[in-house]
């Protein structure tokens, strides 16, 4: 039963490809993977927007959208219809081709990063040997689309915002990669499916061997998630389109469905990056407890992904937007040094792999100290003179 459920997507695929002659089956199965990703993550995107609005409402003591359909469940479709029927305005001085190309490219790059994420035990669209590298290559390409959007609008504010966005994305590319490197070092592979397999197994059947449950893994996950929030332009790092301060940054001159496409790309990027985070640190499709393996692996993946995205919404509901200098300072003075130290920490963990018995406790203590002490020290130097803030006129 469990095995059948586990293989269910594969069975469906084989059943559909069975209708086609042998020579084109590889093409059909490839297309099926694309269609499945588009359908599942398209729907996931639609309901993510609704969930985000509902949850943000709850975080802020209000019920959120609940008028369209039962519990507002039809809201995403109403939004889609609204976006599609809106007038699509292209500025007269805009670079028409690039203006059109930018939203398409940004969605395309967001989507192709899904190709290497293992959604389940047997569910990985493309099992590449250099999957992590591929993921980041696809990620950086979307920066180019962002630049194109800003430049093609022929609006100086769009242009400046696009440059700011690029500065932010480049700044956070580094901590993101530095957080990923320890995982690659310790699992000895760039392939996402093998990284997940390496995190299999449980101690006493209840404690999973996920990377996040080690000192270096916890620090790495922490850095990774902060950088991921910045990479996907979400609050508190949503400076590129800070709708309350800038008009909408590089999206100023976009309207109608092109504007919606940028948001689609943002949510795709967020889902993909969180998916990578789940894959690298939270054990991917592995069940948290040995007994719970009866639940199919792809369900576990989606549950973990949703939890991580929920945490991002939580952070969005809580924190204020940073200023651009605070943002880059956080990246270069805090996350990058911490990431480098964490790299050394992971190396220590790798070298002390054969310690056992009481030495195991020493290993944990050293590893935790190596990451906690710099965290406290860097935090103290960075925040010295900043807190506690005194208000002269307010009480």
């Amino acid at each position: 039963m469990t095995a059948t459920l586990e293989r269910l997507p594969l069975l469906v695929r084989d059943w559909i490809t069975g209708f086609f002659p042998e020579p084109v089956r590889w093409l059909v199965s490839g297309l099926l993977a694309i269609v499945a990703i588009l359908a599942v993550f398209g729907l996931y995107f639609a309901y993510l927007t609704l969930a985000e609005r509902k949850f943000l409402g709850r975080f802020q003591n209000r019920p959120g959208p609940n008028r369209t359909g039962p519990f507002g469940l039809l809201q995403p479709f109403a939004d889609a219809v609204k976006a599609l029927t809106k007038e699509d305005i292209v500025p007269q001085a805009a670079d028409k081709l690039l203006h059109f190309l930018a939203p398409c490219l940004v969605v395309a790059f967001g989507l192709i990063s899904f190709a290497v994420i293992p959604f389940g035990r047997y569910l990985i669209p493309v099992d590449l040997d250099a999957a992590v590298l591929y993921f980041f290559a696809a990620g950086v390409s979307s920066e180019l689309a962002l630049f194109m959007a800003g430049w093609a609008s022929h609006n100086k504010y769009s242009m400046i915002s696009a440059m700011r966005a690029l500065a932010q994305l480049i700044s956070y590319e580094l901590p993101l990669l530095l957080a990923v490197v320890p995982v690659i070092m310790l699992s000895g592979t760039l392939s996402t499916s093998k990284i997940v397999v390496a995190q299999g197994g449980w101690t006493f059947g209840i404690i999973p061997h996920w990377n996040v449950l080690t000192p270096w893994g916890f620090a790495g996950f922490f850095i990774f998630m902060i950088a991921a929030v910045a990479e996907t332009n979400r609050s508190p790092f949503d400076l590129p389109e800070a709708e309350s301060e800038l008009i909408a940054g590089h999206l100023t001159e976009y309207s109608g469905f092109k504007y919606a496409l940028f948001f689609m790309a943002e949510y795709f990027g967020m889902s993909a990056l969180c998916g990578l985070g789940v894959t690298l640190f939270l054990g991917g499709w592995q069940a948290p407890i040995d007994i719970l393996q009866v639940v199919p692996s792809y369900v576990w993946f989606m549950v973990k992904l949703s939890c991580v995205i929920f945490c991002l919404m939580w952070v969005r509901a809580t924190l204020l937007r940073l200023r651009i200098d605070q943002l880059t300072r956080l990246a270069w003075k805090f996350l990058v040094p911490l990431g480098l130290i964490n790299l050394g920490n992971a190396a220590f963990w790798h070298l002390s792999a054969d310690w056992s018995g009481p030495l195991q406790i020493v290993r944990w203590a050293i590893s935790a100290a190596v990451i906690v002490i710099p965290f406290v020290l860097i935090g103290r130097t960075l925040s010295s003179g900043l807190a506690p803030r005194t208000y002269r006129y307010a009480t």
Partner: protein, 247 residues
């Protein structure tokens, strides 16, 4: 330590999130068209005209004195007094319009009204499809019964009613006193012819002036009226009433 503030903030929002599902304190939103808050008694939106009795137009307390029209800061009130067939003004408004798109709800008309005839309403759903005609409230639309007034703000309406009743009582007393004085004067006048023959003819004017002197304290009586809010308006209100009630 760095990040402790963030964790505190996250705890606050988490409390909100969890609390919003079971604690009404954490989800104070009222879903308006289905559920409504009970408005506080002092809530006010636009003015309306109070009438007594059954007929909305005949029972209007308004006497078209135009005080509200004169005082209205944005000048949203427009009054034409009723005239009888001889062209003399009757104490009724023929036209009483309030432009709701101009009215700012300042309540000055209510403050100045000597007859307690204009009051603030609590209806806020005044949306209309036409911004010219749709938002001008006419006399018929503005006239609302005293019962309605009691419904929306019971305390204030009760206060106004006791004040009006008191004024009415005083006015009746005064009228009675005036009638009594008149009767007394008439009796005196009837008794007078006797001494007329003995006294000087000039003294004949004195009995004529006599009925006026007891009437004076009756006019002054309403000033220590129990109503505190519009004690200034009370004598003004009392002044025109006796002639209205005497016939």
């Amino acid at each position: 330590m760095l990040g402790s503030g963030i964790i505190k903030g996250l705890a606050v929002t988490a409390k909100n999130f969890v609390g919003s599902f079971h604690d009404p304190e954490r989800l104070p939103t009222v879903e308006y068209p289905e559920k409504r808050l009970t408005l506080p008694e002092a809530y006010r939106s636009f003015p309306f005209l109070v009438f007594d009795g059954e007929n909305a137009i005949d029972g209007l307390r308004c006497v078209a004195c135009k005080m509200c029209e004169n005082e209205c800061p944005p000048q949203c009130i427009y009054i034409i007094p009723e005239r009888d067939e001889k062209g003399r003004p009757v104490k009724k408004p023929k036209v009483f319009d309030i432009d709701l798109s101009v009215c700012m709800g300042c309540q000055i008309c209510v403050e100045v009204c000597p007859f307690d005839s204009i009051k603030m309403d609590q209806v806020f759903e005044v949306a209309a499809t036409n911004r010219f005609e749709g938002l001008i409230a006419h006399r018929e639309m503005l006239a609302k019964s005293n019962t309605y007034y009691h419904q929306i703000r019971p305390t204030e309406a009760a206060e106004v009613d006791t004040r009006l009743a008191e004024e009415k009582r005083l006015a009746e007393e005064k009228a009675k006193a005036a009638a009594a004085a008149k009767a007394a004067a008439a009796a005196k006048a009837a008794a007078a012819p006797k001494p007329v023959a003995t006294t000087a003819p000039a003294s004949a004017t004195a009995p004529a002036a006599a009925p006026a002197s007891p009437a004076k304290p009756a006019v002054a009586a309403p000033s220590p009226s129990p109503s505190s809010s519009s004690s200034a308006a009370a004598p003004m209100a009392a002044a025109p009433k006796p002639p209205a009630t005497t016939p």
